[in-house]
Structures are given as C-alpha cells and as structure tokens.
C-alpha cells in the first residue's frame, strides 16, 4: 500500500516535470545560458533552468532529452518510447479507423500490463486514484460525524459511459475524454496550470468526480464511473497474476477483507475480476491466508 502511494506520487511528479519541460524548452531555445536566463527572467528561473539542465544531462544532451519526453497519462512519450491509453486507441479507431504505427506500438505495454497484472494501473499508476484515495480517507474521518451512503451500481454504467463516450468522440471530438476520464482531467489540469498558468475546464470535471466520490461511495469513480478502469478490468479479468486465497486457513466469520477492499470485490469468494492488486486485504487479513501470485487453474475455472 505504501508502494502504491509512492508510485502514484511519482506519476504526479513526472506529469509536473513534463509540464515544466515546456518552460525549459522555451528558455533553452531562447537563451541557452544561465546568465542570460537570470537577466531576462529572474533569479528563480535561473535556479530552475540550471536544475533542469543538470538533471536532464544525466540522460544525454539536455535539449534533445527534453524533446524526447512529453504528454500526459492519456498519451505520453518517455525517452522516445510512446505509451497510449487503450481508450484513446479505441477512440481513434472509432473515429478515423486508422492507427499510426507508433500509436499502436504504444498500446503494447499498457495492454500487456493489464493482461498480466489486471487493473494494476488503477492502484499503482493512476494519479486521479490517489486523489480519490485521499478523499476516501477524508470521507472516513467525516463519516464519524455525518452519514454518507454507499451506493452500488452495475458494471453496465461504466460500459455505457465508455460506449457513450466513444459515440461522443466520433460525433464531436476526442477532446471530450478530457472531461470524462478522471486521470486525463487531472493531467490536463496540471499541464495547463503549470505550462501556461491557466485554469483548465477539466478541473471542473475533476471536482464533479471528487464530489461523487465523497458523497456516493468510497472510490466510487474508480469502481463505477471510470471507463478505462472498466476496460482494463475486462482485459485483465483472467490476469496471470492475481490474489489467491488459502481456503483452509480463511476464517468463515471474518469480513475484514471485504470491508477494506476499495474495489468492493469479495476475496472470500475468490472473486478477482476487478482486483487492482492494491494489497489492502493482504495487510488486514488476520490469518494471512491471502497472497499475490500466479492464478491457479482451479480459480480460473470457478470465475469463468
């Protein structure tokens, strides 16, 4: 759990760094000399410029490295390697029926990760889920004084959002995903705020998602709204690595893993369809009967 918080913070840090590259590229092309940067933009920009210069120099020529990185969780390039969001790929396929080679290659890692680990993106990489995680804690504290309902929806709601969003993307433009996907909205807000100093409309949708999360249920957006989570859950429903349970050690009366699970799945029934391997149930289990490992054949047949 500590690991998942750390990795998600790293992703947010990465997004901020990428957004700051815009400023750095500008200074690099315009001045290319710390002294000139200080003369034109002030002392603080010089510190920023020198830091980025020395940091990027670890990977090669700073200017070139800066040009090889960019984007958001939606579509990102790290050291020239493209990563594509599966929903972005679906959206492009629905609208223009054609994939660029680099764009298609960017799918390999996200899809491979989903096939092997399931919804691991949701608990280890998604920056928005960190926000919702914090809101869930806040909700827990507020819950001592106020009543918050826990609302359950069917999985069809997120499927509907996915296909409705695809139809909307075909009709209007791919830009509507920046309102409909929490992590894209977060990335867009960070990027616009840091690179241009402007408020993005995506912040509005992020606030809507946060209110949903606070009022309707713990990690409500992740479970029932996010189309990407739904898609990754579907792709990874038979993931190679999953939670497994030793039934002989499991206490019949104990409900702690069901209560703690942010995805509201039931480890006691060996239900691993939406499991994001966050590991909260491993920590809380009194008999340590849960473990993360290769999915055993028996369980595969039971869930299938």
């Amino acid at each position: 759990m500590v690991l998942s918080i750390f990795t998600r913070f790293s992703v947010i840090g990465l997004l901020c760094t990428l957004a700051m590259l815009t400023e750095y590229n500008n200074l690099k092309l315009a001045y290319n000399l710390p002294r000139l940067v200080e003369l034109s933009s002030g002392k603080s920009m010089r510190v920023f410029y020198e830091f980025m210069d020395s940091f990027l120099a670890h990977f090669g020529d700073p200017g070139e490295v800066a040009q090889r990185n960019g984007g958001m969780t939606w579509s990102i390039r790290l050291m020239g390697v493209p990563f594509t969001d599966p929903v972005a790929a679906l959206s492009v396929m629905a609208k223009s029926r054609r994939w660029e080679l680099g764009f298609a290659l960017g799918l390999v890692l996200p899809l491979g990760m989903a096939l092997v680990f399931g919804r691991i993106f949701c608990s280890y990489l998604c920056p928005a889920s960190l926000l919702f995680f914090a809101i869930a804690r806040f909700r827990g504290i507020l819950g001592k004084f106020l009543y918050f309902p826990e609302i359950s929806l069917s999985r069809g709601f997120a499927w509907g959002l996915l296909f409705g969003g695809l139809a909307g993307a075909v009709w209007l433009g791919h830009g509507i995903w920046s309102l409909a996907l929490p992590y894209f909205a977060l990335g867009q807000t960070l990027f616009q705020g840091i690179a241009f100093g402007t408020l993005s409309i995506s912040l509005g949708s992020l606030i809507v998602f946060s209110i949903l999360d606070l009022c309707l249920g713990r990690q409500f957006t992740c479970r029932y709204v996010c189309p990407t989570g739904r898609l990754l859950g579907f792709i990874g429903r038979k993931s190679i690595i999953s939670i497994s349970r030793e039934a002989t050690q499991c206490l019949t009366s104990c409900q702690s893993c069901i209560d703690v699970c942010p995805m509201k799945i039931n480890p006691k029934l060996d239900e691993t369809v939406d499991c994001s391997l966050c590991g909260e149930c491993l920590v809380i289990c009194p008999t340590n009967c849960l473990s993360i490992g290769l999915r055993s054949r028996k369980i595969t047949y039971e869930t299938a």
């Binding site: 590259l21 972005a88 223009s96 509907g160 959002l161 996915l162 209007l172 791919h174 830009g175 509507i176």
Partner: protein, 192 residues
C-alpha cells in the same frame, strides 16, 4: 445506463462562447480542419515540446469539438517553424515535416493579409517590421516603396510572425487560418 450521460454533452454547446469563427491557427503540418479534428486526441504533446510556447490548448471557447486541441494565437506568439510539434504528434494529425526550407514551404497554416488603410508604410511612414520578421523574406513577402509589405499568397505559410511583430495596434497585418479561407471559398462555390 451510463450511456445517458454523454447525451447531455451537446447541452454544453449551448454555453456562451466568444465566437464560432475560427480565429486561431493550427500548428504547422496540420491536415485540413475536418481531418485534423478527426485525428487529434488532445494529448498536448505538441504544446509540451513547443520551444516557442506559441501552441496552447483550447478550452471551451471553441466549442466541444475543439476541446483540448492545439491552437496558435499569432498576435500573442507566432510560430517559428521549428517543426518540433510535427515530430511528436502520435496520431499524425500533424504530418511530419523537417525544419528545412522545403519543409517550411510545405506548411499551410493560413495566409497574411495587410490592412493597407492602417499600415504605417502605406501611410508613407517607413516601417517594414513585418518584412524583417518573415521567415521567408523575398518569397512570401516583398517590399515596395516606404517598405510597404506585399504578401504573396502562394508562398505565405501563415506562421504569424508578421502579425506578432506588427507595431500598429490593432495589427495592420493579420493571418487568416487556412480553415477560414477554405470556408470562405466554399461559400463562394470555389473548391479549395
């Protein structure tokens, strides 16, 4: 059930916005407007690598169809035709171009138009700032008496550096986006 929500997206279209008129340029290498909007996924990578910080992203001011797509406000910051954005576009909504003279000439973002009634040079006060900002001087723009700018539409790529440089307020030279020009031609019945 969730499919009901996107049905309400068109309601956002009813929000007040500045104008339906496309006032902003697209980055260099952009395809025709419909094709561009079909391919652009709004990932912001072009804005991220732009070393000139001229590419910004649309909010709702251009309607939902333009949301998160890149734009260039030429009066604020023109494009220096470094072609960094065309190299990074993941979906080839911006076609790959090289920052060579041939690559620069292949760009079609728009065309500059001079307002001769307010231009200083046409009033007999020698200026010529736009000519000196032009990346294709002598081809896209030539000078006449008192350094009067003459734009040659067949060579002008519409980078917007002249509009950015113009010392008159409001600008005496404006770059009209290629989408607007095509639209205007279509209205007159001339194929683009």
């Amino acid at each position: 059930m969730g499919a009901v929500i996107p049905v309400f997206f068109p309601l956002l279209e009813k929000l007040p916005k500045n104008s339906r008129f496309k006032k902003f340029l697209r980055p260099p290498g952009a395809k025709a407007e419909e094709e561009f909007l079909r391919d652009c996924i709004g990932c912001g990578q072009c804005a991220n690598v732009c070393p000139n910080k001229c590419i910004t992203l649309y909010g709702l001011e251009g309607g939902l169809e333009n949301l998160a797509t890149p734009k260039i406000n030429a009066r604020a910051q023109g494009c220096i035709l470094c072609m960094a954005c065309t190299q990074v576009c993941p979906t080839a909504a911006l076609e790959k171009l090289e920052p060579t003279p041939e690559g620069k000439q292949a760009v079609a973002m728009g065309t500059a138009f001079v307002s001769e009634d307010i231009c200083y040079s046409f009033a007999g006060r020698t200026c010529g700032v736009c000519y000196h900002a032009c990346p294709l001087p002598g081809k896209a723009m030539t000078l006449g008496l008192y350094e009067q700018p003459h734009v040659h539409a067949e060579f002008c790529v519409g980078c917007g550096l002249c509009e950015q440089a113009c010392v008159h307020m409001p600008q005496a030279i404006r770059v009209v986006p290629i989408a607007n020009l095509n639209e205007r031609l279509r209205k007159k019945g001339i194929p683009a």
